[in-house]
């Protein structure tokens, strides 16, 4: 039996799905995009523009549909679901790539050891209520022990042993531990980020060295310079200007005279001492020195014990200052 007639008549009912193009269009199924790089026919574009645009679009879309229908599909209640491949066209991102999360101490350890920890569910099955309840948090399962109406008490427990309180304390301790670890991890991750500039460290070293140089009894005057040791940088002698205002000169001279009048004592203690007994006010006796001498360096309290009287208690206090 010849079926070719039937086949051709059946085929003529349907319009063709074949599309002929000189250059095969570039199809990106992931973005549902077809790019047809064939030249536009000028004549038909000028004369029957809309029809031509529509026909051209139809041809391109026919090819795209053919590509999409040939993709592997999954069945679903709403019809076949075509699985799209990765896109071939690269479009720019809207935001930069996410930064990787800083690794916690445990994660670092687990990675080194090759431990794959399983994620714990946030819900646990509660046998009593036959429901899923939260592991922690609001109505959490971890609070059952402290909220139960009857508690087991160990035989050797103290008289004031409160099992509910103990359970709560244990839970709070766990929370505190977690928080401590969290903050430590946070600090550790930030420590890694903020690398101190090397120039800062150098400056700091230089500053320390300069301080130690000037920390000898002679302010470093008689210290021998080591081999390879550099001169301290930035140390300059400062000279006062030759011409100064009369006021400034006067105050400077007066300050010098005052120093001379006070002998060599220039300590802050003497300046702060409000009592009239300090030297410089006509009192020749240096009480502090005298007490030190009399008590053999043990102080005014020891001296008072020895003498056994409160006669010069005011002086004692002074001496202690």
């Amino acid at each position: 039996m010849d079926v070719s007639d039937i086949l051709t008549s059946q085929a003529s009912k349907h319009k063709s799905i074949l599309v002929e193009k000189d250059i095969p269009p570039d199809i990106d199924p992931s973005f549902l995009t077809v790019t047809d790089t064939n030249a536009i026919d000028n004549e038909s574009y000028v004369h029957e523009r809309e029809t031509y645009l529509q026909a051209n679009a139809r041809d391109g879309i026919q090819l795209l549909i053919a590509a999409l229908f040939s993709l592997p599909t999954l069945s679903s209640p709403e019809g076949p679901l075509a699985q799209l491949p990765a896109p071939t066209t690269q479009l720019p991102r809207a935001k930069p790539l996410p930064k990787p999360k800083p690794v916690t101490k445990w994660e670092k350890f687990a990675r080194a050891k090759g431990i794959h920890s399983q994620r714990r569910d946030r819900k646990v099955w509660d046998e009593e209520s036959q429901t899923w309840v939260a592991r922690w948090g609001w109505r959490g399962k971890n609070k059952t022990e402290e909220s139960q109406w009857l508690h087991e008490v160990p035989a050797n427990a103290d008289t004031d042993y409160d099992p509910s309180k103990e359970a709560r304390a244990a839970r709070r301790a766990q929370i505190a531990k977690n928080e401590r670890q969290r903050t430590q991890n946070l600090a550790r991750s930030q420590q890694g980020q903020a690398v101190r500039a090397p120039i800062d460290r150098e400056q700091e070293l230089e500053r320390t060295l300069a301080t130690t140089r000037a920390s000898t009894a002679s302010m470093g005057k008689f210290d021998r310079m080591l081999e390879g040791e550099k001169k301290p940088r930035g140390v300059k002698r400062k000279f006062e200007p030759i011409e100064r205002s009369v006021e400034a000169e006067k105050s400077a001279s007066l300050a010098l005279l005052k120093k001379l009048g006070n002998g060599h004592r220039s300590s802050k203690k003497a300046e702060q001492d409000p009592s009239g007994e300090s030297i410089g006010d006509g009192n020749i006796l240096n009480v502090r020195k005298a007490v030190r001498f009399a008590s053999h360096g043990q102080g005014a309290v020891a001296l008072a014990h020895k003498s056994g009287t409160g006669r010069n208690s005011r002086q004692k206090r002074k001496g202690k200052q």
Partner: protein, 336 residues
């Protein structure tokens, strides 16, 4: 620059986390901005483009003094405020009537921009066809040789793809393919197509954007026959000013994430073979070695086993084979 805020409650924290950069990005939110003056044509064009872009579209319906080619700070501010990364600005001036500017952002900064002039516009409402529901993905059809060669049209294609269809998806309902946006460039001179860097004075050809609905007819085969019905909007656009992307910023925007572990296992990357972690958490490797040659193994010599002078060799061979069979061919060794 907005100040960095610390979330005060869980809801705002979730909202802030949703705005953080993701490996696989959400579709771009587009803000439709009106400039200092917009005519009827620009308003209509923006409304129709917005109806195609819904639900990822925000309308700024008040007038705004924006000149993005001079100063893009307001775009950057709005982008950060609204978590949007694309703009369509409609502005009609005496010098540039009926202008539509498409701008794209990266990391809160302006990436690139293209200004288009609307020469002819037919609204979506003038075609009496069913309109696609919001959120449906259109199929895109680009037709011109310039989309492969000319930098202006390459940029335009990239912008329009991002505008209409920028989201990477894994799967799609074949029954949901309902509408098409076709972008065709008018015939151009040979010179424009051949000169790649576009240093010619020739005017750029007009771009036609047409919307169609798709009818899928039976073809007697698995692939259906496609018929298109004009749906609108139909726009004839001419290219005006543009701003190409800064190469550094573009490079940063085109950076791709590394291959995922499951993809690596699927065969997209290299897989580590013969390495596993046992239940103690130790890394164990399996080393395959060649079969040991035991024929020349020297076993213990005993006087009693010694036979006639000729038999000596044969016996020791038998013994050696026996030992070899008892040993496993594969051995587990701890990896170094």
């Amino acid at each position: 620059m907005l100040r960095v805020v610390k979330p005060k409650n869980a809801r705002s924290k979730r909202a802030m986390e949703a705005r953080e950069p993701k490996e696989i990005e959400d579709p771009r939110t587009v803000i439709f901005v009106r400039g200092t003056h917009t005519g009827e044509v620009v308003n209509g064009a923006m409304k129709d483009l917005m109806s195609l872009k819904r639900p990822h579209a925000i309308s700024f319906s008040k007038k705004n003094v924006v000149r993005p080619f001079e100063d893009a700070t307001s775009f950057e501010f709005w982008a950060q405020k609204n978590d949007a990364s694309m703009f369509v600005l409609g502005q009609s001036t005496k010098k540039r009537p009926n202008g539509l500017t498409i701008a794209r952002m990266f990391d809160g900064k302006l990436l690139d921009m293209c200004e288009l002039g609307v020469d002819r516009f037919v609204s979506i409402d003038e075609f009496k066809t069913a309109k696609p529901p919001p959120g449906h993905k259109p199929m895109l059809h680009f037709a011109s040789e310039l989309f492969d060669t000319h930098p202006r049209f390459i940029q335009l294609k990239s912008l329009l793809m991002d505008l209409f269809n920028g989201e990477v998806i894994e799967s799609i309902y074949l029954s949901g393919l309902e509408h098409v946006i076709s972008i065709t460039v008018a015939p151009s001179s040979e010179k424009l197509a051949s000169v790649p860097d576009a240093q010619t004075d020739e005017p750029l050809p007009v771009v036609h954007i047409r919307g169609y609905t798709v009818k899928l007819l039976t073809s007697g085969q698995r692939v259906p026959r496609v018929e298109l019905v004009p749906m609108g909007p139909s726009l004839d656009l001419s290219l005006r000013r543009h701003r190409p992307a800064d190469p550094e910023l573009w490079k940063a925007a085109m950076r791709r994430p590394k291959l995922k572990k499951q993809d690596v296992e699927k065969g997209l990357g290299k897989k580590r073979k013969n390495v596993e972690v046992d239940e103690m958490g130790d890394l164990r490797g399996r080393v395959h070695i060649t079969k040991q040659d035991l024929t020349k193994l020297q076993t213990r010599k005993m006087k009693g086993l010694r036979g006639a002078p000729g038999e000596d060799e044969r016996e020791s061979e038998d013994e050696g084979e026996g030992i070899g069979a008892a040993r496993p061919a594969k051995r587990k060794k701890k990896a170094p």
